[in-house]
Symmetry: C2
Subunit: 426 residues, 2 copies
């Protein structure tokens, strides 16, 4: 007797959470991802800045789901979904009785090919490794050149976007540049190093209370990060960027964190994707015309109080669990129930000792916030074996002010298609 097959597309926070909740259900679960690993994306900027190793934030999906007797894992790129025939197009056709699509989001350059060509993303593991290699190579080249102007270009780092990713990465870079690299490059004049954040809005960390954003901005400025607020990147070329007001910043390294859109897979699920590329779903997470298909996480346009839920890990995790319970209900002849989001709050860290935390009406900034941030992140990764390694690396870094991972290794560029690179904040 064959059991109904539940196919989950994407092994990010949403997909894994669904698979976990289906562990004891009387179904065959198949989870498909382009990569063989689940990425703990909230700490990706720490790989990009050389604090953590990839294996400390990325874990094989098969190992995570090893205890699941009803679950199979495939590393495969999903190219499309045929809702009528109920098949997923991978290397071959995969049929399903129930489908949970958790394909996540990708970097959004708003159709600007120049931006895409001349900036670097910070969304996937390959992005982070490329970025780490690029940043360190700039210093190697700057240490060699005798051309002062060229050296200044090499040592100017522009981050477009002041959301959590941009802010956390800027904080990590400013730490790297002020404490560690001067010891590795004692003859280099670090006064010419610039970290610039360009943000279209007039404040940073827009999803937080303005007071928290202002405190984070103050700290970044004290740490030497330049904030260009109310400005957008109009053009990028191989020498730098031009802002919307015509101002020019010469830079060899522009990091684009200013846009995220849902996976292109969404376009095959509905003729009416939202502006962000997300797929509108019913209150139950189901597609309007397909009871058997649920869409969750970054890919789902789920409105609550007139606002779509943010692209955050807790949303994906809760929706994954809910989608699984809906499948179990339908299997038993019952009805799916509406999803309701329980706000677990958001947090962002700005270098060492400082984080902003917002949980409902509770707002914390500073060292206490940082301890909360540390606690939450350690709790999140407690299920993975590398907790001890992460702890030691962090402890070492904290005590000795060192960034252990500063290797320049080559990586090929590798664009996200179906990987649920959730812009995730637990």
């Amino acid at each position: 007797m064959t059991r109904p097959r539940v196919v989950i597309v994407g092994a990010g926070f949403g997909g894994l959470s669904a698979a976990r909740a289906l562990r004891t259900a009387d179904v065959d679960v198949l989870i498909i991802d382009r990569h063989n690993y689940h990425l703990f994306q909230p700490l990706l900027y720490q790989v990009a800045s050389g604090l953590l190793d990839p294996s400390e934030i990325a874990h094989p999906v098969r190992t995570i789901l090893r205890g699941h007797a009803n679950t199979d894992v495939r590393m495969e790129t999903v190219r499309g979904i045929d809702l009528e025939r109920r098949v997923v197009h991978g290397d071959e056709e995969i049929s399903y009785a129930y489908l949970i699509v958790a394909a996540g989001s990708v970097t959004n350059h708003f159709g600007n090919k120049q931006l895409a060509a001349h900036t670097m993303g910070l969304k996937g593991l390959t992005d982070a490794l490329s970025l780490r290699a690029k940043v360190l190579s700039r210093f190697e080249e700057a240490a060699e050149t005798t051309d002062d102007e060229w050296r200044r270009h090499l040592l100017t780092f522009v981050i477009a976007g002041a959301g959590p990713t941009g802010v956390e990465y800027a904080g990590a870079l400013s730490e790297l540049f002020s404490h560690l690299l001067p010891r590795d490059f004692p003859r280099l004049d670090f006064a010419s190093v610039r970290v610039v954040i360009v943000e279209g809005r007039t404040r940073i960390l827009e999803s937080f209370h303005p007071r928290l954003g202002a405190m984070a901005a103050g700290l970044l400025r004290r740490r030497g990060v330049e904030l260009m607020l109310g400005r957008t990147v109009a053009e990028a070329d191989d020498r730098g960027i031009t802002l919307d007001n015509g101002a020019r910043i010469e830079s060899e390294t522009v990091i684009w964190t200013a846009g995220v859109r849902a996976s292109p897979l969404g376009e095959g699920l509905t003729p009416h994707v939202a502006h962000s590329g997300r797929v509108p779903v019913r209150a139950t997470l189901q597609l309007p015309d397909h009871d058997e298909v649920q869409v969750i996480g970054d890919l789902a346009e789920f409105e609550e109080a007139g606002q779509p839920l943010p692209m955050l890990a807790p949303v994906a995790i809760q929706q994954g669990k809910h989608a699984a319970s809906n499948v179990i209900a339908m299997l038993g002849g019952g009805l799916p129930t509406p999803f309701r989001y329980r706000d677990k709050g958001t947090m962002a860290t700005v270098g060492r000792n400082f984080a902003v935390v917002q949980i409902g009406r509770i707002r914390v900034a500073g060292f206490v916030g940082w301890l909360m941030w540390l606690f939450v992140h350690l709790t999140y990764i407690i299920t993975f074996r590398s907790k001890a390694v992460v702890l030691i690396n962090w402890g070492w870094n904290y005590i000795f002010y060192d960034r252990p991972v500063r290797l320049i290794t080559e990586v090929s560029s590798d664009r996200a298609t179906d990987q649920p690179d959730t812009e995730a904040r637990p």
Copy 2:
């Protein structure tokens, strides 16, 4: 007043050892390497088999030499050396008063382009990461295919060469395949997995006493590794290899550890390179016609008792130290002294709990050998920060029989030219 400049080409075991010994000398030291890191190559196979992370065996040269006030580091590819004008050709010309060339060795395909195109090396960090990704991808693909013959091809792993690298990697693979991967791929029939070593000589680990080689061979066979001795790889194509006796092995993954030759940089130093590409040097390590140039490590053809010294880390380390002392002697108006190698022994490990160790007349095999191997390797890396992390990873692996690092990440292929990827055994 400018001090004489000592240029060291290569930051492998030899180059680093020379730089360390020159720390307090009244000279300016410049060490140049293609990479920004020093590679602890004896543990490279552990990266290739997913036990260790790259940052655990690779360390930034700048960080290692941070305390050296007289030393500068450059990440640059050395394209040639002009002995008459006393300059090194990098991105620009670098002049020297004294030169120590420690450019190491590269994989040798004996001019067979097919071999080079259809096999993978295990010499540099990029090799190891590519190999790790390839091996794991084979299992992902094997888990999906319904074609039994194709699955057997995917799961056949051929290692050409039964020196320490080949044997250690075979041991690591057999552990990975017998203990860990079956848990990640519970539906895959592991009876069809093959690890085959092809070796032209009639025994493995030729540099060890025959008794030790035989014990290692026995252990490998008990662990399921097939040994094809007295056979060489005649041809390689995209479906597998053909042996010299015409026998065919269909395999998607052929690892070439059967040949090493000195860096091509040696050809610019002498018209008379040895068969292995090594540069003949005087008893003092100096070039015959150039007192100011010393060649050390894998690149140097240094004969003792009529035999060239092996390409091993201890040789490079001792020669680096000696070359530095020669420079110091010449600076003081003295004469360079002849180098003499103190044999520190060799060891190779075959998976967990078993190593062969040979120190002079002392020969050990088994668990005690493995403890010695562990002790020596931990002592060697004690100068690097990651000791604690390595210890924890090994401890974890030992207790839980787990290989923590099983990420398939893309890396671009990256051939060695001047990197002293010493075939090193401490």
